[in-house]
C-alpha cells in the first residue's frame, strides 16, 4: 500500500512538473513579458525583479530559476496586486473557495445519490420523470443563470417575509449555503444520472435477487447490497469534481462576491499576472492529482475486489 502511494506520488510529481513546464513556456509564448506593463517601473525594482526571476537571462535559465523557486514552494510576489505574495493569495483564496466547495460537494454527492436512488427505484414512474426533468435543467442551464435567479429569489423572499437572509457572501456560514447549492447543482445533476444508471444495473443483478429470497425488506437491500455496489462510478467522478469545485468558480464567486481562488485565477489571466497564473495553475494541478489518488485509495475500501497497489 505505502509502496503504491509512493509510486503514485512520484508519478503525480511528474504530472505536476509537466503542468508547470507547459504553463511556463505557454506564458512565455504569448506576446509581452512580465515587465512590460502600462505602469512605469523604477529601474531599481526592475533590477530587483531581474535578480529574482532572471528576466534578462535566456529562457532556459529563467526556466530553471522558475523550477527551483517552484520546488521550494515559492511562487513569488504578485505583479498586479501590490505587496501580496502569491502564496498568501492562494492560501486566502483557497480557504474561502474550499469552504464553499466542500459544502457544494456535500450537496452534490448526497443530492446525487439520493435523487439517483429515487429515480432508479421509481423507474418509469412520475418521480423518475420529474427528477430527470430537473436533472436535464441542471446539466444544461449555465450556473450564472441559476445564481442570478437564486439571488433574485432570496431578495424576493426577504421582502415578502421580512427576512434578512444574506444574498451575497458576507463571511458567515449561512451566506455560503445558496452559493454552494448553485455551485454544486451541475455536479449533482450529473451524479444523479450516473447513480441512476449504475443502480438500475445493480437492482437487476443476481445478488439482489438472493437478498430478496432471504427475506430482506427493500430498505435493508438498498442499504447493505445495492448502495455499495452502485456507488463506485459516483466516487470516480467525485475526485476530479472535488478538485475543480473546491478550487473555486469564477462565476459563482463573482456573483455572490466571495473572495475565492477562482476569482483570483481569472483576474490573474486577465491582467497577465505572471506569477499569479503560474502559482494558481500549479496549485490546481497538484490538488487534482492528489484528489485522483485519494479516490483510487477509497476504491479499495468500497470494493474489496480492488486491491490497491497489490500486484500478483
Amino acid at each position: 500500500m505505502s509502496k503504491y502511494v509512493f509510486k503514485r506520488l512520484l508519478s503525480g510529481f511528474f504530472t505536476v512538473f509537466f503542468i508547470a513546464t507547459v504553463t511556463f513556456f505557454g506564458m512565455h509564448a504569448i506576446p509581452g513579458d512580465p515587465l512590460s506593463s502600462d505602469k512605469v517601473m523604477s529601474e531599481a525594482s526592475k533590477e530587483a525583479l531581474n535578480k529574482k526571476y532572471g528576466f534578462d537571462k535566456p529562457l532556459y535559465e529563467q526556466y530553471f530559476i522558475f523550477l527551483k523557486n517552484t520546488a521550494q514552494g515559492d511562487f513569488g510576489m504578485s505583479f498586479t496586486k501590490k505587496g501580496q505574495d502569491v502564496n498568501d493569495i492562494i492560501k486566502q483564496g483557497f480557504s474561502e473557495s474550499a469552504k464553499l466547495g466542500v459544502l457544494a460537494i456535500l450537496f452534490a454527492a448526497f443530492g446525487g445519490i439520493l435523487w439517483g436512488a429515487l429515480t432508479a427505484k421509481y423507474r418509469n414512474k412520475w418521480p423518475d420523470y420529474l427528477i430527470m426533468i430537473f436533472v436535464i435543467l441542471g446539466i444544461s442551464v449555465p450556473s450564472f443563470v441559476f445564481a442570478s435567479f437564486a439571488q433574485l429569489f432570496i431578495v424576493f423572499l426577504n421582502q415578502e417575509l421580512n427576512l434578512v437572509f444574506p444574498y451575497r457572501g458576507d463571511g458567515s456560514f449561512v451566506s455560503l449555503l445558496v452559493p454552494a447549492l448553485v455551485l454544486g447543482l451541475g455536479t449533482m445533476a450529473f451524479l444523479t444520472r450516473l447513480m441512476r444508471s449504475s443502480l438500475l444495473e445493480v437492482i437487476n443483478s443476481d445478488f439482489v435477487r438472493t437478498a430478496k429470497a432471504k427475506g430482506l425488506n427493500s430498505w435493508q437491500i438498498f442499504k447493505s447490497h445495492e448502495l455499495r455496489n452502485s456507488i463506485l462510478p459516483v466516487i470516480t467522478i467525485l475526485g476530479p469534481a472535488i478538485a475543480s469545485i473546491t478550487t473555486g468558480s469564477f462565476v459563482i464567486e463573482t456573483i455572490f462576491t466571495i473572495p475565492g481562488l477562482g476569482k483570483q485565477f481569472v483576474e490573474g489571466v486577465q491582467q497577465n499576472d505572471y506569477t499569479l497564473i503560474m502559482g494558481t495553475t500549479v496549485f490546481y494541478g497538484s490538488f487534482l492529482v492528489l484528489m485522483v489518488l485519494v479516490v483510487d485509495i477509497v476504491y479499495g475500501f468500497v470494493d474489496p475486489r480492488i486491491k490497491v497497489g497489490e500486484s500478483k
Binding site: D206, R209, T210, A213, K214, G215, L216, N229, R305
Partner: protein, 342 residues
C-alpha cells in the same frame, strides 16, 4: 402418506412484454412432502424457474403477475399474503439457492456477513452471535477453516465453495423447504457430485423438503423421490422417479430420455434431439402444447385441451393417449393408464 409441506395449485403467471403477454406458467400444480425431494425437469424457458420464483415473490412486478393459483406452505397461501407478511417466510421457512453462486452473492460483503444477515433478520440474533453461527454452518457444509473463510469475500472462493456457502446461507434458519434452482449447472462433474451429496446429507439431518430444478436427468436419478416434467408452462407428467423413468407416460418424457447421451449407443449416430421448437407462449396452442413435435399426435390433440390422466398409484400424465378410446399407437411406446381421468 406424508404431509405436504409445499403445495402449489393451478399456478398461472404472465409477463407483459413489448410483443404482448407471455403466458409463462399455465396452470402448474405440484407438491413436495417432508423430507422428500421433488425434481422439476424441462427444457429452457418451460417455466420451471418462473414457477418457484413467483412463489418466492422474486419475479419483477410489473411486468410479471400471478393471475391464478395458490402456493400453500403448511396450509398458508403465500401468494395471498402482503409483501411484508410473505417476507417472514422467505429465507426462514423456504430457503433458495441459485445456479450461479458467484453472481448470486454480494461481491462487496464478506461471506460470513451474508450468512449472518439471514439469522439477524429472522432470528433477531446479534451480529456476533450470527457470525458464530455462520462458522458452524460453513463447518456443516464442509468448508475447511470456516472461521477464516467467513471473513473472506466471494471472489476469494472457488465455484464449488461458493455453492456450499450459498447452501449454508439458505439453510441458516432451518427451512422446511429448500428450493434449488439448477444448483449444479455451473459446476464441473466432481464438484457437482459433492454438492449434491451435501444436499442429501443435510436433508437427512434436517428433514427438509427439496425442490430441485434441473435439466440434467442424471441429477434427477441421483437425488429425486418424485419428478415433475414441465413443458411450455405446464406439468405434462409427474410421479415417482421410477414411474417417470421406467414407465414414462408422456411422449415428451420419452423424447427427453432418448435425447440423453448414452454410453451404449453407437457414437456414430450422434446425439438424438427432439425435432422442432417449443410453442410460442404469446399465443399457446388450444390443444396439447407438444402436438407439433409429438410423433404420436392425433387430430384431437391439436384442438382439444388435454385432460390429466392418472394411474392408481398417482402417476399422472397430460396426454390423450391415455383416453380409453385412443388408438393403440406404436410410435409412442408410453405406459398406458387404464383411462382414469382426473
Amino acid at each position: 402418506m406424508a404431509e405436504k409441506v409445499l403445495d402449489i395449485q393451478n399456478l398461472k403467471v404472465e409477463f407483459d412484454t413489448h410483443g404482448g403477454i407471455v403466458q409463462a406458467v399455465r396452470g402448474v400444480s405440484y407438491s413436495v412432502e417432508k423430507g422428500k425431494t421433488l425434481a422439476v425437469v424441462g427444457e429452457s424457458g418451460c417455466g420451471k424457474s418462473v414457477t418457484v420464483q413467483s412463489i418466492m415473490g422474486l419475479i419483477p412486478k410489473p411486468p410479471g403477475r400471478v393471475t391464478q393459483g395458490k402456493a400453500l406452505l403448511n396450509g398458508v397461501d403465500l401468494l395471498s399474503l402482503s409483501d411484508k407478511e410473505s417476507r417472514q417466510y422467505r429465507g426462514r421457512d423456504i430457503g433458495m439457492i441459485f445456479q450461479d453462486a458467484m453472481s448470486s452473492l454480494n461481491p462487496t460483503m464478506t461471506v460470513g456477513e451474508q450468512i449472518a444477515e439471514t439469522l439477524q433478520i429472522h432470528k433477531g440474533m446479534s451480529k456476533q452471535d450470527a457470525l458464530k453461527k455462520a462458522v458452524n454452518l460453513l463447518d456443516l457444509t464442509r468448508i475447511p477453516e470456516a472461521h477464516k473463510r467467513i471473513k473472506q469475500y466471494p471472489f476469494e472462493f472457488s465455484g464449488g465453495m461458493l455453492q456450499r456457502a450459498m447452501i449454508a446461507m439458505s439453510i441458516a434458519c432451518k427451512p422446511q423447504v429448500l428450493i434449488a434452482d439448477e444448483p449444479t449447472t455451473a459446476l464441473d462433474v466432481t464438484v457437482q457430485d459433492q454438492v449434491l451429496e451435501l444436499m442429501k446429507d443435510l436433508q437427512r439431518e434436517e428433514g427438509m423438503a427439496i425442490i430441485l430444478i434441473t435439466h440434467d436427468l442424471g441429477v434427477v436419478a441421483k437425488m429425486a423421490d418424485d419428478v415433475a416434467v414441465m413443458y411450455a408452462g405446464e406439468i405434462v407428467e409427474s410421479g415417482t422417479v421410477d414411474e417417470v423413468f421406467y414407465k414414462s407416460a408422456h411422449p415428451y418424457t420419452l423424447g427427453l430420455k432418448s435425447a440423453m447421451p448414452s454410453m451404449e449407443r453407437n457414437s456414430h449416430t450422434g446425439l438424438v434431439s427432439i425435432d422442432g421448437t417449443p410453442p410460442d407462449l404469446f399465443n399457446p396452442p388450444q390443444g396439447c402444447a407438444y402436438t407439433a413435435r409429438c410423433p404420436a399426435a392425433m387430430k384431437l390433440c391439436r384442438s382439444r385441451k388435454v385432460e390429466i390422466f392418472s394411474s392408481e398409484s398417482g402417476h399422472r400424465s397430460q396426454c390423450w393417449l391415455h383416453h380409453k378410446e385412443a388408438p393403440v399407437s406404436v410410435t409412442a411406446p408410453i405406459n398406458r393408464f387404464s383411462g382414469a381421468e382426473v
